[in-house]
Amino acid sequence: MRYSAIGRYPMPTLFDIRDLSKVYRMGEVEVHALRNVTLTLDEGTFVCLLGPSGSGKSTLLNIVGGLDVPTSGQVVYRTEDLTHADEAALTAYRRRHVGFVFQFYNLIPSLTALENVALVTEIVDAPMPPEEALRLVQLQERLHHFPAQMSGGEQQRVAIARAIAKRPAVLLCDEPTGALDISTGIVVLEALARVNAELGTTTVVITHNAAIASMAHRVIRLADGRVVAVEQRTERLSPRELVW
């Protein structure tokens, strides 16, 4: 139901981002990772952030996810201003509302798939059972395997299960298929699409693979720290139909 609703009716805004800038100091040089970025992210949408390396995608994602703070500008999550939140507030925000998926999975190697998911379900209110989260990514057969005993695609799906088990408001994925081959990449993207469709979780995916953009509601292109294009898509492909 919700899937078809996207694009037809205006959805509530989840993130309101205004004039966002981030300057890093690397030794003696200043790096402008983001320059006056302004955009909104709507609830329930599947957003794709496209751009070459160094365009500011990861910085934007980290700030939206409460892992980093901007140099100037404002990020408002629902009604909460993240720009002025302290470390404790950002931790609480990440804990309750954000699910992360990283390029290199970042699983805890000493914990099994189930335990990696439990790591999250143990610290939030009303999570889904870890087994259910793993079933959603079709890993119900691999509950007791350690990361080292799984393929890259399987590890990434564990990471997705770990991210969604808390029923987050937003799922932030930084190059989730970057370390995977095409066929495993597609399985991972299918898992993301299913989460977005079935749970209505706002999903932001960073990639420099333009093909992935074909499955998004919205595509935001970044270059040199600026938003250069925003595309609202009405025609969406399923991950199986993507052409790499």
Binding site: L67, D68, R94, N106, I108, L111, L119, R162
Partner: protein, 790 residues
């Protein structure tokens, strides 16, 4: 079953992953805990035993000896305010004649009432029975003596009592709180074969020593809250006309003082040594954890992204350290209990208690646990905070490549000499100066601890050399019952095998200056020092000025006297003159309280011409047996010491003692050295396995890459040797200072041999741990290592 959270499961598995390293650190912790438990449990066992023994046997609060006083005076003593019980006794030293023993032994006879138990200093009868009234031959014998000679109730010993050989029948075996520790007069350590205590009926003893209706020894118990000082003062005044030799409070009684001194040492070692070990453990924990957490960087980033707070992660990683500490406590408590019971066995040979059992009090275990957790926490907290505080977005990125620089010591000249491998070693060491310092600190403590063991065993040899060869060059020491005319020397000279005789005059005095005072004997020294010489700690003879007193350093310290100051002597013999004398010198010797003056001057003080209280003999070893037989029979002789026998006993006792402590030191020093080096090696290996594997891929041999890794350890180990020697010297000085007492001092003598031995030991331990890590280097999987993402 306890359900572990995922984070705790991670903790257990991460610890298991680094088990060898964790165990190495835990063993260092365990060493500290073991020492803590060993010393403090022994302390508490000894203290509890001592207190209940004192209480049950009514150990005296004040002791006094005198020449002779009528029994009626005992009532006056009992009337001194605060005195709750008095026992007036006859005490005499006699020569024992024992079968199978060439050299004479000394017996101390102490009178006891036959019809009741003593009111003060009651005996604990281990076996046999109390003496029967009217049986002048019955005695209770001290347990140590009975055991040393394999005697039992019903056996006999022969004693020369006032010139007559008497046969004494042992009816019981006893112990007294007065003689928990007992030494033969004039000796340094106990010799149970050559010294025994015998308790016999008052009347029998009194008649043998002309003490009928009188006494020459007093023991008093005081009412609770009474100051012993006031009682001692009044007692001294009361006994003065009867040849009082000065009353002493319990604190100065030899046996009690020795036990107290031992207790104080146990307590200070029990805190000092564990503290050193736990400090080292904290340092290496810091190094190990810093590296382990660097490896955890991506995991920390992920956990933070998942919403774990800094506090939760900090606690999680702090628990690593606490868990390692807890393992150390478990091993340490067990080890400490084992070592403590060995130590108690050793004390049971020195100290005679009815029962001395080893117990580990819960408080000691709790203290060890608390101390360890604090040390582990302090060691870990820096590393943990640094790791956890990294902002999540930064932790997400790989650690920036290490910033290498040419070290300050790496001049062009050095660089050319070193070659590539040498340069890598040098840069790695200088890149982490704090870490290198921590390793050097740890290893140098291992050197120091090992050195202490060797230093002390050699100090004992030194002590023997100084005391038995430089200071006392006689073969036999003879003490007379009473001072005698110097003609006695000719009688001694006529005995078989006697080559030379040096008469000796010692006079008991109370020496005071200001409000300090001590009881001791002043020794008269002939113009030319032949057999008995005054030597300093290094064994160098010291000339005696013609007038004035020369004091031992400890005595000068106790009285707070410098050369040129005056002291007052109350002589406790003869016409009991009182003299004020100038102190003309202080000798830095190994003895406790001693004072010397010119023999002629001493005679003048005593208003006597040629009186001797003993003699030193040089004898023909072949005639020792005959000489001994004749000396035993001389009524004028109170005691005879054969140097050979004294020395043999000294070595036996010290050897047992030293072997135990050197063994313990060797064990603990190896653990520290191994733990520190192994950890440093594992940390380097973990940081550099990629780099080393890359070198292997480039064609370096195993030997060459081992050289880079082990070279770093070799540099650290070598650098810690001089620091270790310095620490060792400081620690030795600290310990020598802490065991220095009014009875004796230790020479602080650090030989090159001790230093070399400890260096060798540590290099050995370091080599073993280096080789263990090298084995891992041989198993390096080149392809896999290169795939690891930094």
């Amino acid at each position: 079953m306890i359900r572990l959270t995922a984070l705790n499961r991670k903790l257990l598995r991460d610890l298991w992953q680094m088990k060898a390293q964790a165990l190495a650190i835990a063993m260092v912790v365990a060493s500290g805990v073991a020492m803590f438990v060993m010393y403090l449990s022994t302390f508490s066992s000894l203290r509890a035993t001592q207190q209940s023994y004192y209480e049950q046997q009514r150990f005296a609060d004040v002791f006094a000896s005198l020449r002779r006083a009528p029994l009626s005076l005992a009532a006056d003593v009992a009337a001194i305010p605060g005195v709750s019980a008095v026992e007036a006794r006859v005490v005499a030293n006699v020569t024992l004649d024992l079968e199978g023993m060439v050299e004479p032994a000394t017996g101390r006879l102490v009178s006891i009432p036959a019809t009741r138990r003593p009111r003060v200093d009651d005996l604990f009868v281990r076996r046999g029975r109390w003496i029967e009234p009217g049986r002048s031959d019955e005695v209770l014998a001290s347990e140590a003596f009975v055991i040393a000679h394999g005697l039992a109730p019903g056996d006999h010993v022969r004693a020369v009592i006032n010139g007559r050989l008497r046969r004494l029948t042992i009816v019981g075996v006893a112990l007294s709180p007065e003689f928990i520790y007992s030494i033969r007069p004039g000796e340094l350590i106990p010799d149970d074969r050559r010294f025994g205590i015998f308790w016999m009926e008052r009347e029998a003893l009194a008649s043998a020593f002309d003490m009928e209706g009188g006494f020459n020894d007093l023991v008093l118990d005081l009412a609770p809250g009474t100051s012993s000082e006031a009682v001692v003062e009044r007692l001294d005044r009361l006994l003065e006309p009867y040849g009082g030799l000065g009353a002493i409070p319990r604190a100065l009684q030899l046996s009690h003082w020795t036990v107290e001194n031992e207790l104080a040492q146990l307590q200070s070692f029990g805190f000092l040594l564990p503290l050193i070990f736990l400090t080292v453990a904290a340092f290496i924990l810091n190094v190990a954890l810093t590296r382990a957490l660097a490896l955890q960087r991506p995991q920390i980033a992920a956990l933070k992204a998942l919403g774990y707070s800094n506090r939760e992660l900090g606690w999680h990683y702090l628990k690593w350290a606490l868990a390692i500490g807890a393992i150390g406590v478990a091993i340490g408590v067990l080890g400490g209990a084992g070592l403590g019971s060995t130590l108690i066995d050793l004390y049971n040979q020195y100290f005679r208690f009815p029962v001395l059992l080893f117990r580990v009090p819960a408080g000691v275990v709790a203290g060890a646990t608390a101390l360890t957790l604090v040390a582990a926490g302090l060691g870990a907290i820096g590393a943990v905070l640094r790791a956890v505080r990294i902002p999540p977005a930064e932790a997400m990125r790989p650690e920036p490549p290490s910033g290498y620089r040419r070290g300050a010591i790496e001049t062009r000249f050095v660089a050319r000499r070193l070659g590539t491998a040498g340069r890598m070693v040098l840069r790695n060491v200088s890149r982490h100066p704090l870490r290198a310092a921590a390793s050097i600190f740890g290893i140098s403590f291992a050197v120091a601890i090992l050195m202490i063991g060797f230093v002390f065993s050699q100090a004992i040899e030194r002590l023997i050399l100084t005391q038995f060869w430089d200071a006392e060059r006689q073969d036999v020491t003879v003490n007379f019952v009473e001072p005698r005319s110097e003609r006695a020397r000719y009688e001694l000279a006529r005995l078989p095998g006697v080559i030379a005789v040096e008469p000796q005059r010692t006079v008991p005095v109370r020496m005071h200056a200001g409000h300090h005072e001590r009881y001791l004997a002043v020794t008269g020294v002939p113009d030319t020092q032949r057999l008995k010489r005054i030597v300093d700690r290094e064994g160098r003879p010291t000339e005696l000025p013609p007038s004035g007193l020369v004091l031992s350093k400890i005595l000068a310290q106790v009285l707070d006297i410098r050369p040129g100051d005056t002291v007052t002597l109350d002589v406790l013999e003869g016409h009991r003159p009182v003299r004020t004398m100038i102190v003309t010198g202080v000798v830095d010797d190994i003895m406790g309280l001693s004072a010397y003056m010119n023999a002629g001057a001493l005679h003048d003080v005593m208003r006597e011409s040629d009186v001797v209280s003993g003699a030193l003999l040089v004898v023909d070893a072949a005639e020792e047996e005959r000489l001994s037989r004749e000396l035993k029979a001389l009524p004028a002789v109170a005691g005879v010491g054969f140097k050979r026998a004294v020395l043999r006993n000294f070595r036996d006792v010290m050897a047992a003692n030293m072997n135990l402590s050197i063994g313990i030191n060797l064990l603990f020093a190896s653990i520290i050295a191994f733990g520190v080096v192994y950890n440093a090696a594992r940390v380097s290996l973990s940081e550099r396995s990629r780099e080393l594997a890359s070198l292997r891929v480039l064609g370096f041999t195993r030997g060459e890459i081992s050289l880079i890794l082990l070279g770093e350890l070799a540099v650290l180990t070598l650098a810690s040797l001089p620091a270790g020697a310095l620490f060792g010297y400081m620690l030795a000085a600290l310990i020598v200072g802490s065991i220095e007492s009014e009875v004796y001092r230790f020479p602080l003598y650090v030989s090159t041999q001790a230093v070399a031995q400890s260096f060798l030991g540590i290099v050995g331990a370091a080599t073993v741990s280096g080789l263990l890590v090298r084995r891992r280097l041989d198993q390096l999987d080149l392809v896999a290592v290169l795939k690891i993402r930094e």
